[in-house]
Symmetry: C2
Subunit: 368 residues, 2 copies
DNA sequence: GAAACAATGGGATACGGTTTCGCCACCGGC
DNA sequence: GCCGGTGGCGAAACCGTATCCCATTGTTTC
């Protein structure tokens, strides 16, 4: 009754329980377990036996309070079920586990309020880094908001990493891992143009999404480079989902728009577009060609398999984690260097079976 | 020099910093922030102002050491990028966030060693529950291994939840959230049989995976119920991926196997099968019907859209979290009751466009 | 044989909160 | 005007671990 805890009490065993039962001091147990201090073989055996008997594990909270502890990376994502960013998350988590780091996840559901709440929550957890995934909306507020996050995390000894988002302007303590979004779109559009397509229905995504803006710009640049007039009337904005792809194509056909190919903002949009074309009795790629973007597994699972732009999502995740790990181990070296805080990975076109030269039709080549 | 920390020092602000700067005691700051004790308006204002000025957040480790702390649920998953279990994870995470819980994730990559390491890691973190996702291999060792996990976690005040896995035998402190796997397969096979199919290529999955076993059993039962002989020669085992679907169909065709429909173990396998049929010049569903299982988004994005079995993955995640949350709040009530520790959710067939009655062919209906 | 030394184990303290306990001032009632 | 009650706040005792510092013992060296 006088001792603080009954022998067979419920709840976790503490290091004191182990020490008492092994007849040694708490310090010795700690040393045996952490292994960074010389201990005699005899002591080690005694302690380890009790540890096994009691099924003891150290309390991670106490450990990290006392200075030790495993680093943790927080992954903040709009929606886990989105294939593209799930791959980034996989990359981050995999690289984290490889180094013995832990991964926390939170989903924001596109809600700035939740995003704020989650960043604060992660700050409480004392995470080594917060990785924010996904394209951002280009509100004016975005830069300010992210800069605030970055400084706040930096002050707490943490670090902000933006993946697949535009980098922050000014002297902000954040790392950006990006891919050549516009370049991929340029290459993809060039592929269509060189196949002979001149009238292309473009479904870049939401007008305010930075990703969509870049993909549209890339396409436009390709048209310019080929000297082909770009018709704004063939651009349809909308969310990155199957329904949008379907609806956009259906409406375009109903309005009598003239096009021989569809340049979709993502593979999922392309899938919707493909379905709508089929529903209208058009064949892919014989009547209309389609290309996507992202190269998620879906792209190669559709019939026909989709020509698309490969984005190294999983590697972006690995790179993001490596960046923060290096920074943490590298110490104070390379402080705020221009290098290292904006990494850009390459993209490339993956040619499959969804593109053919356009069928010859009257006036489709020249005309308006 | 004598004070423990310089005013503008780097690193996080502590509660002491706040207290000192506000000219109050540490206890008062704690009370203002947790809000579970009456404080004067004046005090609250003074403290909150300093909290904002210093951008202070409480240290979650210290808090949980001292008894408080936000509960955390650990999600252990084979592979984040698998659509089905990504949805379960989403359900768990969503329900967790809704209650202010945190979610940790770890991926096991089908490696028992990593599974063990992760469970221990989570035990160190003092998580409220560990949710293990995914079908299990039916090794003899499985039951023992899981029982050990369950008891170990239970002893530490945590709890094991198995989602989409077979329940544990005996008096083991674990909760299982399951779906009517066999029933779904039964219904799906019945759908094919009632459409007139008699010779069906079955691709249930890996022979040792419990999920695959259940799906195969369900199909067999349906054949029995219809009085149709089940041909073991039309069963092809293999992993739940696109390649297996493709290869299995390709081989079956090459071997000259006679079938009018494919019953795939998952939608992804169905996608592969569909592609292989097309490659062989067969039309879906005119020449061969196909059905899947899981009803992931892919199913409705294929052409033709896939008839499949809907599994309420996301809800399973929510249910799993609710189960542990209830148990934690309900306290010691309903201890080891038979109810509540094995929850089974229903499945149903989603009819789309990938099934037609079989084309009339010589001898396909009757004969051997 | 004594002294200096290396090896190893124990006691005490710090980490940053929460919570119990007790003090003080202020209030109304007699 | 004195006394008991009460609301509001501060001091201090934990939570479980890592680590600094010192004591003890066995070993080497002169």
């Amino acid at each position: 009754m006088s001792q603080r805890k009954a022998p067979g009490d419920a709840g976790r065993a503490t290091i004191r329980d182990v020490a008492q039962r092994a007849g040694v001091s708490v310090a010795s147990v700690s040393r045996v377990l952490s292994g960074n201090y010389p201990v005699s073989e005899e002591l080690r055996r005694r302690v380890m036996k009790v540890v096994r008997d009691l099924d003891y594990v150290t309390n991670a909270h106490a450990r990290s309070l006392a200075g030790g502890g495993t680093p943790t990376v927080a992954i903040l994502i709009n929606n886990i079920t989105g294939a593209a960013f799930a791959h980034v998350a996989k990359g981050v988590e995999g690289a984290a586990t490889l180094r013995g780091w832990l991964s926390l996840v939170g989903t924001t559901g596109d809600d700035p309020e939740r995003e704020l709440a989650l960043v604060n929550l992660m700050r409480q957890q004392g995470v080594a880094a917060v990785v924010l995934l996904g394209g951002a909306y280009d509100y004016d507020e975005y830069q300010l908001r992210m800069a605030r996050f970055a400084r706040s995390l930096d002050a707490a000894g943490s670090h902000l990493v933006l993946v697949g988002r535009p980098p922050l302007e000014g002297d902000v303590p954040a790392t950006t891992v990006d891919y050549d979004n516009e370049g991929g779109a340029y290459a993809m559009a060039s592929h269509l143009l060189s196949a002979g397509h001149r009238r292309v229905l473009v479904l870049p995504g939401h007008q305010e999404l930075t990703t969509a803006q870049g993909r549209l710009r890339g396409a436009q640049r390709a048209f310019e480079a080929y000297g082909v007039p770009f018709d704004p009337g063939l651009v349809r904005h909308g969310p990155y989902d199957y329904e949008h792809g379907y609806d956009a194509v259906e409406e375009s056909l109903r309005e009598g728009l003239d096009f021989t190919a569809v340049l979709a903002g993502t593979d999922v949009v392309a899938a919707g577009a493909m379905q709508a074309l089929r529903a209208a009795g058009l064949r892919v790629p014989e009547d209309v060609s389609i290309v996507g973007y992202d190269d998620i597994p879906l792209a190669s699972q559709l019939t026909p398999q989709l020509t698309t732009v490969h984005v190294p999502y999983e590697e972006m995740g690995r790179v993001a984690l490596r960046a923060v790990a290096d920074r943490r181990e590298g110490g104070s070296g390379r402080r705020k260097g221009a290098d290292g805080d904006h990494l850009v990975l390459g993209t490339h076109v993956v040619v499959r079976n969804s593109v053919r030269p356009p069928a010859r039709r009257e006036g489709a080549d020249r005309g308006e």
